[in-house]
């Protein structure tokens, strides 16, 4: 078991002929993901890597292949439309990798996707991976290994760092999800924690947050009130100066709003393990197995 994706996932790639789309579609195929279709308007009828059929529209692709999940690599000005197109075509899980989607676009996309009953992960995220079964997005497959640890994170490379350390310590993962750092994203920590709580394979959850906003505090409340499984948390940005943004859209700190100290305290109050350094995760997870 796992969350959101598994060996049954049938994936279509929006923007499969683009630079990033084609590179990662190939990586996903190599990993063993069932990539059943690609979409690039105007290139319908062609094939990707002489095997995956390409369609002009998502509706066509879903109609012909029955894809249930979509991953988006289209440029920022078209990403909002791509997310809505996927949800409208009946895709259940929409994963948007694209970075730089205007936030006002996301206010519309968020409502639209919800109304269609689809789940959106991202935008501006590395996607997700269920080791040994399916990879949707850009998380490097070779740093992961199957196992009982659920991983959810707001950042990309920091997630890789911690997954890599878990794998080296012999701690495999059920599913790793990067939810992205934008102000408005489709799936939050709580959605993932809830799914991990219900997933029989997951025994411990690792959660990597950042300064800014209050998602981590809300997640801590959820852990305290609704979770039986142990959760270990980490907050990046303890040394960030007040009032400055740190690249990630989510990473901003100002006064007491969303400081690292505030978030770490919320973790402690919820009975979570707190990793001071990335390297601390492995020991904390082992203690809780």
């Amino acid at each position: 078991m796992s969350i959101f994706i598994d060996s049954e996932t049938t994936l279509l790639v929006q923007g499969i002929t683009g630079r990033d789309g084609s590179f990662h579609a190939k990586q996903m195929l190599e990993y063993g993901t069932r990539v059943v279709a690609g979409v690039t308007p105007g290139k319908g009828g062609q094939r990707f890597e002489s095997s995956v059929p390409i369609f002009d529209t998502v509706a066509d692709a879903v109609d012909k292949t029955g894809a249930n999940t979509s991953v988006i690599y289209v440029p920022p000005p078209f990403a909002a439309d791509a997310m809505m197109e996927a949800a409208a075509a009946g895709i259940r899980l929409v994963v948007c990798i694209t970075e730089g989607v205007p936030v006002l676009d996301m206010t519309r996309v968020y409502m639209y996707v919800k109304e269609k009953g689809a789940r959106l992960i991202g935008p501006n995220c590395p996607g997700l991976i269920t080791p040994g079964e399916s990879k949707v997005g850009i998380i490097p497959g070779r740093i992961c290994t199957p196992g009982p640890v659920g991983v959810v994170s707001r950042s990309g490379t920091l997630t890789y760092e911690i997954v890599y350390q878990l794998t080296r310590a012999g701690l495999g993962q059920s599913t790793c999800v990067g939810i992205g750092g934008d102000p408005i994203n489709g799936t939050n920590f709580i959605d993932c924690l809830d799914a991990f709580e219900k997933d029989p394979k997951t025994k411990v959850v690792c959660m990597m947050g950042e300064i800014g906003g209050s998602d981590e505090q809300d997640a801590a409340d959820f852990v305290r009130d609704h979770m039986t499984k142990p959760v270990v948390g980490f907050i990046a940005g303890q040394t960030a100066p007040p009032g400055r943004r740190m690249g990630h859209a989510g990473a901003i700190i100002s006064g007491s709003a969303g400081t690292a100290a505030e978030k770490i305290q919320a973790f402690k109050d919820a009975g979570m393990g707190v990793a001071q350094r990335p390297i601390d995760f492995t020991a904390l997870v082992k203690e809780r197995m």
Binding site: P140, L158, M208, A236, G247, S254, S256, P278
Partner: protein, 407 residues
Amino acid sequence: MLRNLAVGRLPPPASASLSSLNNGAFVNTHEYQAKEIFRKAGIPIPPGEVASTPEEAERIARRFGGTVVIKAQVHAGGRGKAGGVKLAKTPDEAREFASTILGMRIKDLPVLKVLVTPAADIATEAYAGIIVDRASKRAVFMVSPAGGIDIEDVAASTPDKIMKLPVDPRYGVQPFEAMRMGFFLYKDAKQARAAAKILMQLYQAFQSSGASLAEINPLVTTPAGEVVALDAKMVVDDNELVRRTEIEELRDESAEAPSEVDARKANLTFIKLDGNVGCIVNGAGLAMATMDLVKYYGGEPANFLDIGGSSNPEKVVSALRIITADPNVKAILFNIFGGITRTDDVANGIVTATRQNPLRVPIVIRLTGTNEEIAVKILEENGFTAMTDMDEAVQKAVQLATGGKAA
């Protein structure tokens, strides 16, 4: 902190600055620029002109006649408190005050322009703003009859004086919603109507500019009963600039730190700090975690620098140029986890950059991931050592920067 934001149950922001709650990279507009955008949307704005010399300010004041206000145009709050806003009764005074203000630095930013505007008689001061709120995932109006002061202070002391209204992105703000806010601001029906109209126009300006914040503080009434926007502020999401080149043109680079402008041009995210360990990392989360670890081991990061995802050698060259320009930097730390980023690209960048400009300070390179073997070979052939463990690399960099004094 706009936490748990939902209709009918809207706690005010605690101590966060409303403008800094906006997330993401952005373009800050000056007051005079925001006023121009608001004016085009139909919002009543008093006349005003921009001067960059005392003489210009004097000429503008003479043309307006009577008392004028000289206002520093700078991306910092608290201009008034810092002495950046002055009332000038005569054109001579206007020149004199403009001369003082134009030489000032407010929150370390140089004042290069002043706005000269006729002094207005004020009966009441209110606040009106729109912000993108991450909790409710919508644009949210905030209005308050207590204006002219920081809205954060109002939120802290008298939260019942703030009304918040999330806007449904499918329909935009509706006239009845604007009227509700108008009547929250003013008892007088005529003024409430005028305010409602301004709020609709503000929403239009907000949407058409791709803003993440649009603010009028204060929104004033004159003794004659007119409702007028006396100050204006707008912040635009960087992600909008591809399709809104007119906003990109508003960016005032002279109002930003030169190293940060340099970094933006090289497509790097850079923030200068006061420490001595220069950090070059891929990914914002890992970059922050690296800085935290530097601090954990007793060092101080000199900067935040994210070289981003698909980095090429030129980016690394720019990053090293920016970092080494800081005389405080005593050691340089690379922390690269190659996913999309190819570590051999980074290695090539390091070799190229150090050939052009030999380093004066020690460098610690940690890289792992995509094409790691090639990267290590490139580095070793050029006399560098590569490390694979983040924790060890950070400890070593701190040790080098502090001369072994830190733990």
